[in-house]
């Protein structure tokens, strides 16, 4: 069999991505149909930039979801004779089968690894960003609202973390040695507590006027939260439902740690601006609690910039994860995530560029999509 030509390679890849195309079509058809009823999300479909960004992001999200249907080979499987094979090479011994984007230095299929890498990246980046946001919001709201000593102390800590060059921090925080000392677990214990506290305070401040409801909601949230907390931070979940690989925990915690101070600064700045508004004064006059005002009056009014920053930050987190993979920090050697695949491929870059270029383009398109999406959201949220 001959090596495939580039049009044939793209054709075959397009066929492999069929489930993604169908899902994209359905999403777009439904969203455009009902865009007037979908709020900010619907407005996104009024701007070309926003739609392009959303399409790119949705493409990778669906790829991550349907990864098992898309891959042509096991991302870890090695076929003899396929070492550094050029894109479109027929696999040895099998009829009508190709390494669509070639093989890497261990004779694994680059295409399948790229697809599986999307799943890994999209499993970590948004989750880490959400946790970072909850930490940043929970600390930024009181710092901006109360000011004073609390603000000074928290801002000092945030600036300390921000003054670290990110790579140095990663080299100090993501090492096999540090795992022995238990620092990642301690950090996780602190950082993962914030989402639980955030949700509980959020519900408590809303429903504290009717105790039965409050007890039900806060109780449920606390039990569920602490259950997940025990499993994720300490790996002590009795049912084994929540657990996290120590490697992954280390990476996850350091990414959250790097992102949270920036979120803190943004939230703090916005609260300082918003707390002089009339609706805050009205709430104070009504005798509302401080946390109610912060969480249910100020926070919803700050949502526009926060959503935009959230999109940008997922992209930034993706870049950070790629950086970690690129330096081989905290990832298992055969993991298909994009950063470490680029790192693997760069050694033979000037002779066989394809194993490194494919994940590089994938990462770039995802981050570009997120940035365009953020841009579209910013434009649309400014419009009203």
């Amino acid at each position: 069999m001959d090596t495939l030509s580039w049009p044939m390679i793209f054709g075959k890849m397009a066929i492999q991505f069929t489930p993604v195309w169908i899902a994209l079509l359905v999403t777009f058809a439904l969203s455009i149909q009902f865009k007037r009823r979908l709020g900010l999300y619907g407005k996104l479909f009024d701007s070309t930039v926003g739609m392009a960004g959303f399409a790119l992001v949705a493409f990778w999200v669906f790829t991550a979801i349907f990864a098992d249907l898309i891959i042509t080979y096991d991302p870890l499987g090695q076929l003899s004779g396929m070492k550094n094979a050029v894109p479109g090479s027929p696999t040895t011994g099998v009829e009508n089968a190709w390494y669509l984007l070639g093989g890497d230095h261990l004779a694994r299929d680059v295409f399948s690894r790229m697809v599986m890498g999307a799943r890994r990246v999209l499993a970590i980046a948004p989750a880490a960003t959400i946790i970072a946001f909850m930490v940043g919001i929970t600390l930024g709201l009181p710092a901006g609202y109360f000011g004073g000593k609390l603000d000074t102390a928290l801002s000092f800590i945030a600036n300390l973390v921000l003054a670290f060059p990110v790579i140095l921090l990663f080299y100090l925080l993501v090492t096999p040695e540090i795992r022995v000392t238990g620092i990642p677990v301690a950090l996780a214990a602190i950082l993962f507590l914030f989402p639980v506290v955030f949700v509980c305070v959020l519900l408590n401040s809303r429903f504290f006027t009717s105790p039965p409801k409050r007890n039900l909601y806060v109780g449920t949230a606390a039990i569920l939260g602490l259950w997940a907390y025990s499993g994720l931070a300490f790996n002590a979940d009795p049912t084994g439902f929540w657990s996290m690989d120590p490697n992954l925990l280390n990476v996850f915690v350091s990414v959250v740690f790097v992102n949270a101070p920036t979120v803190f600064r943004i939230v703090r700045g916005m609260v300082m601006d918003l707390k002089a508004r009339d609706y805050v004064a009205a709430g104070q006059t009504r005798g509302e609690g401080a946390w109610y005002i912060m969480l249910w009056e100020i926070l919803p009014n700050a949502r526009g910039p926060l959503i935009v920053d959230f999109c940008l930050r997922i992209g930034y987190t993706t870049i950070l994860l790629g950086t970690l993979g690129f330096f081989g920090l905290g990832v298992s050697p055969e993991s298909p995530d994009w950063g470490s695949t680029i790192d693997d491929g760069r050694r033979l870059l000037s002779i066989y560029p394809h194993p490194a270029v494919v994940p590089a383009l994938a990462l770039m398109s995802l981050v570009l999509g997120l940035n365009l999406l953020a841009d579209g959201l910013r434009e649309e949220s400014l419009r009203d």
Partner: protein, 361 residues
Amino acid sequence: MYLFLLRRVGLMLLTALSLSFIVFCLTNLAPNLEKLARTEGSVRMTDDDVANWVIQNGHGGSMVSRYGEWLGVVPGWVLTDEKGVTRGRCLQGGLTVESAPRFCGIFQGNWGTSTVFREPVLKTVTNKLAATGWLMFWVMMVMVPTALVLGVLSGMREGSRTDRVLSTFAIASTATPEYVSGVILIAFLGSATAGISPVLSSWGWIEGRTLFQGTATSAMDKITFWNFALPVITIALYGIGYIARMTRASMTEVMTQQYIRTARLKGVSFRQIIIKHALRNALIAPFTVIMLQFPWLLNGVVIVETLFNYKGFGWTLVQAAGNNDIQLLLGCSVVAVFVVLITQLISDIGYVFLNPRIRLS
């Protein structure tokens, strides 16, 4: 004004102290010291031997006192082991207990010895910083003018076709981290099998096998356009987008101001308005952004020096961290942290000086 300066500098020093203490703790963790003992002593040491080695080499006391010794505010350790050999922090180079100075930390210029390069850390760091200095210099020379021109061009007529094209370029460049753009640039311009080099080579337009060189190792001796262009562009590209977007935002804001309208109404040409009235005011905000870009440039430097095998500061940091070279890593961290803090300070002070609307009484 002086009070403001004093407060800023004081805060910076406090931050620097806290940060260096954190770095000191994180590099001198027990497992790191154990690993150091096994590489410096012997691999077959028992656990007791290791513990003994750690204490005998002055890594025994509390973290705070060791940090003090390292800084040079606490007298250096002196220990005599059971064989009667006296060793101490300050007893290097044939000095005896009597003749050696009591304090020898970084304040006294003693940054320790690198276990990878087998030379004083201070020497390694200064040598490598010089190499990185050239890289940074050319990055700045490429990045700042390009970004400012792009930003001003797209900001002076908001919403025009130029603006949209340039903005899209800016977004794309911020979405491309160094390890991605570097890989793509090497594959496209510096690879013997892919991109444009094979074509140019077969046409006989270039002498070697590739147009640009995919490594910058030769730039350590002599910097040429062909071996230095790719690393410089790789770092600059990521910053260009960001600075251009900030410049654009500040330029569009300035263009809506009253004095610009006044100038137009009195018949000043568009060109004159941009150069005389808009530019100066629009470039205040990007100044801060450019200064705050330094920490990120530091990241770029580490990635690019690793990718292009350019033996500068970033490469050294990776070597130090990868080989558990505690003293060198500490030295690199201190330099990195100081670079970040000083640029923050300059950007704060510069902003106050540049912006006539801020008056500190």
